[in-house]
Subunit: 331 residues, 2 copies
């Protein structure tokens, strides 16, 4: 393993502690529940927004806790959903009369934990909202999913709902804008390499140099097909030819265009893909409102990328542009 690690079993708690220490006091870490949360939350009149999925997808979602995004995140171990107790304790900690919004990616393990927690929290009198993210158009069902998987589009759901919460929107309004994003965002990815979970110590699957997995899942789940490596232009075609007709995105539409790196692909290659996708969309009359190029939802050190398209209207544009601040930042 070519990894910076102490005890592989301590990988998640150790990087979570690093997030809190790096925050200068704005984020806190509660080891008992793998919990990263805003030190200034909850607030009485403000909806709280929480998420917790497997680790190994950083910056999602422990590094996108902050004003305008998540208020708390309670990850499980690498590629494993959080235990129900993590979720109920997180919800309790962030509880407010305005309500707590659960944003859940569509994996069976995550849904089991979050849906059970929702029942338990509601039974205790909490007001809970629920959003299920399923933006991956690659496959209908998958190794750990019934229905479509939630992947990089999750960022936009959190951004929109987070901005709505920050400006004082009700739980119903946060759910409404989150559902709007979910209905209008589509994603698909390609992997060029596997990845190695620290405790496992060996690659999750095998993929030969010169091959690619079209429609890869973020835990190494198979996609649509294993294929001979294509050029960057061919790859963008493969992805857009599934993503664009799915909504469909049409001439005259404005979109947010994301090229998300899976962890091991340099940002130079992501910008190369971005340029190709931008021009192909322009040729179809689809206008990019704003670009998102970098790592948003990864799979440890996997080489690969997602393309995500979100159709935007005036409301979503304003929510995307609203200020937000999280652990991952340049300055």
């Amino acid at each position: 393993m070519r990894k910076f690690l102490n005890d592989p079993k301590a990988f998640v708690p150790e990087f979570l502690e690093g997030i809190a220490l790096a925050s200068g006091g704005t984020l806190k870490y509660e080891p008992k529940y793998n919990l990263i949360y805003r030190a200034d939350m909850p607030k009485k009149d403000r909806v709280s927004i929480i998420q917790g999925s497997g680790s190994g997808h950083e910056p999602a979602h422990t590094m996108i806790v902050g004003p305008g995004m998540l208020d708390a995140a309670c990850p499980g171990d690498v590629f494993a959903g959080p235990p129900v107790e993590f979720v109920t304790e997180t919800s309790k900690l962030m509880d407010t009369p305005a309500g707590v919004l659960f944003i859940v990616n569509n994996y069976t393990g995550d849904r089991t934990a979050w849906e059970m927690a929702k029942e338990l929290c509601e039974a205790e009198g909490q007001k809970i909202g629920y959003l299920l993210v399923n933006d991956d158009v690659a496959v209908k069902d998958s190794t750990w999913t019934v229905g479509r998987r939630g992947v990089a589009g999750n960022f936009f759901v959190i951004k929109a709902a987070g901005a709505m919460a920050e400006k004082g929107g009700s739980l119903e309004e946060c759910v409404r804008v989150g559902e709007k994003v979910i209905s209008q965002v589509r994603t698909m990815g390609i992997a060029l390499s596997s990845c190695t979970p620290p405790v496992r110590g060996t690659p999750l699957f095998e993929i030969a140099d010169g091959e690619m997995e079209v429609g890869i899942g973020i835990h190494g789940e198979p996609g649509r097909e294993r294929r001979k490596m294509g050029t960057a232009t061919e790859i963008v075609d493969v992805l857009l030819n599934v993503i664009v007709p799915d909504l469909p995105f049409k001439s005259g539409d404005e979109v947010a265009l994301m090229v998300n790196g899976l962890g091991g692909t340099p940002i130079s290659e992501l910008y190369l893909l971005y340029g190709i996708a931008h021009k192909k969309l322009a040729a179809q009359g689809i206008k990019v409102f704003r670009s998102y190029v970098g790592e948003y939802c990864t799979s440890l050190e996997m080489a690969g990328a997602h393309i995500s398209l979100l159709k935007v209207d005036a409301e979503l544009k304003s929510l995307l542009l609203a200020p937000a601040e999280v652990a991952v930042r340049v300055f």
Copy 2:
């Protein structure tokens, strides 16, 4: 090669075009000189700041062009300094009576181009300032360097000088704060894997799984020694035990602490290293003023990391916190 590429020779121009397209019009791309520049620069009363080194270190430096940072960047091909003509044309394009500041990393190829360009530009009547970044404490001389190499600390030099320029500082003031950063920043890195330049198509050097190169250069130049892989805690010790005594950083000092990823290391591991480094510094009475965790200066898809420490005073704190906006961003 596990890379998103069309023609490997077109790698640099294609990702540069992507940067410009992603910018929504704020950045322009001039293919003739591999040039990315701010569409709103130069300005008559404002110093311009430019840089151009090898490609393959993204986001440095083509993706950190924008208000408060670089005004233009003219990279060479992967791991190759820019031709003199790229530099002179960039300087001419950004020329202003307030002066043009060249920020150069200490590699023989870069220095040759930039020092020759400085003479040529001054002969044409331009007012030129010059800063040489050499923050890498690993080795005294190296494969392509006489003296210490310039690595991740370059970010802080640009940030401070860029903030000074943005608030209307003179060329002399920009040089002064840049020199202050250079005198107070120290960096060292460790590589866990090699990397593959697109045109070459094979790894730049060999390193076995389970080994690490202590003091690696960002073009694969040898460091201090090849050693058996250590734990994350041992690795942080190895780096801080060279960096801290070099300045020296002392109890009572405040610092900016950067953990820079070399391209193939997930941000989770960088935060894990960050947490360890933060605590070790605290134990020595050295207080972190602000954290920087992510990719600032990479070596394509190399697995590895740098730790950088910058001693800050009131002026540097204010310059680090000044607003800036570049291509690499989350929102």
